[in-house]
Amino acid sequence: MRKYTPKGNVQKKAKYNDRFWVAPSVARSDYRSDKHFSEVVEKLSKEVKVLDSYVEIGQLVVEIEAEENLKALKNLKSGSCYEMCSELSAVDYLSQSGEFEIFYQLLNLKKSKRVRVITRIKRGEAIESVISIYKMANFAEREMYDMFGIYVNNHPHLKRIIMPDDWEGHPLLKDYPLEGDEFASWYEVDKIFGKEYRDVIGPEIRDQAMVDRYDTQRFARVGKEVPFGSNPEKADEAQTPVSYSKARFTNYTKGSKELDKRK
């Protein structure tokens, strides 16, 4: 068995202690070393302004202006045979530079090569839809709108795809709390019962390790059982104290001798 380590405050501890920890970046290499990629960039740069281009893990990355995304993708599809768009979404860099990075992940099925077209837009700016080139963009752009709140121009049906239509906020933004804002935490209660039932149902219990010793419906008071659903007052504590005997729990961190004693 694996050695047991105490996990007392594991939920309160942050995963990374260093606030200024920066993830190591992936090594970039020159695209000119690859014959196919240099042809792709050459063809592309004739039509659109290529801001930056490099190879990352065997994939060509091309940065372009946001206004020229249609032109660039059209060029890559017809000129360099990138017939498939496997993924399209955005990355939230609002806290670093106040911008979203939108990426289009393209695949050349004949040569098994991939190109990522990236472009940056500011918060509140819209991007042109690429459905006319890649049909998959229909759902992917809807998801991008749903998760980041980025508007897509000339999209035929720009509507939330994952979250409910009446949802507030865009959950994949970095400033969206993981456990949800107030709207999210009361969503199902408000929708089904109405706001006046918030008091009846109560707030969500987010601490999974919480044990309420006064809740006799969901928790057993070990050794000091009371009838189901009864309501022991706080003053009752002196009469029915809940104390766990030390003999019941063994400290596994001390080593195997402690276990032998228990036997």
């Binding site: 979250m163 409910p164 959950p171 969206y176 709390p177 993981l178 456990e179 949800g180 804002d181 999210a184 935490s185 969503y187 199902e188 209660v189 929708k191 089904i192 019962f193 039932y197 009846v200 149902i201 969500e204 219990i205 987010r206 999974q208 419906q217 659903g229």
Partner: protein, 170 residues
């Protein structure tokens, strides 16, 4: 001690059983619990296995029904997302009384590992639950045991559902 002799061989050959109305009705209810065919996530796979031939729910009188109007039990098998909560509640409301609910698996009980904005933190926030079934995912035997516990619960209680104290919000 019987004041009137009961002749089992006459009277059409029918034996007579004396029981209370409560026991008789509960006997009928508990032995034909028809759950709603309603799966939410991976627990539904285990629920399907319980219904199939290896574990065989039919031998307990548990037959899955495709309509909430014909169902007695709602097994909430899996993660309930906030978007879907409204529809789960609607299905529950469409079921005819008497009805019971089994919350199957960690996600249905407490939200489980999905401590996020989009998951209902325990289905008992929207639907009153009779049996909480722990596990991730519970084995089919566990679901069958839960169904047996529910049968016990029904037999123990009154046939008049209003007398049975139940956690209810609405």
């Amino acid at each position: 001690m019987a004041q009137h002799q009961v002749n089992y061989t006459s009277s059409g050959g029918l034996p007579i059983v004396l029981t209370s109305v409560d026991k008789f009705i509960n006997w009928g209810r508990s032995n034909s619990l028809w759950p709603l065919t309603y799966g939410l996530a991976c627990c539904a796979i285990e629920m399907m296995a319980s219904g199939a031939s290896r574990f065989d729910f039919d031998r307990m009188g548990v037959i899955f029904r495709a309509s909430p109007r014909q169902a007695d039990v709602m097994i909430l098998a899996g993660t309930l997302s906030k978007k879907h909560a409204e529809f789960a509640r609607r299905l529950y409301d469409q079921m005819a009384e008497p009805k019971w609910v089994i919350s199957m698996g960690s996600c249905a009980n407490t939200g489980g590992m999905f401590n996020t904005y989009a998951t209902v933190q325990g289905v008992d926030r929207i639907i009153p639950v009779d049996i909480y079934l722990p596990g991730c995912a519970p084995r089919p035997e566990t679901l069958q045991y839960a169904m047996m516990m529910l049968q016990k619960k029904i037999r123990r209680g009154s046939a008049n559902m209003k007398k049975n104290q139940k956690q209810r919000f609405v």
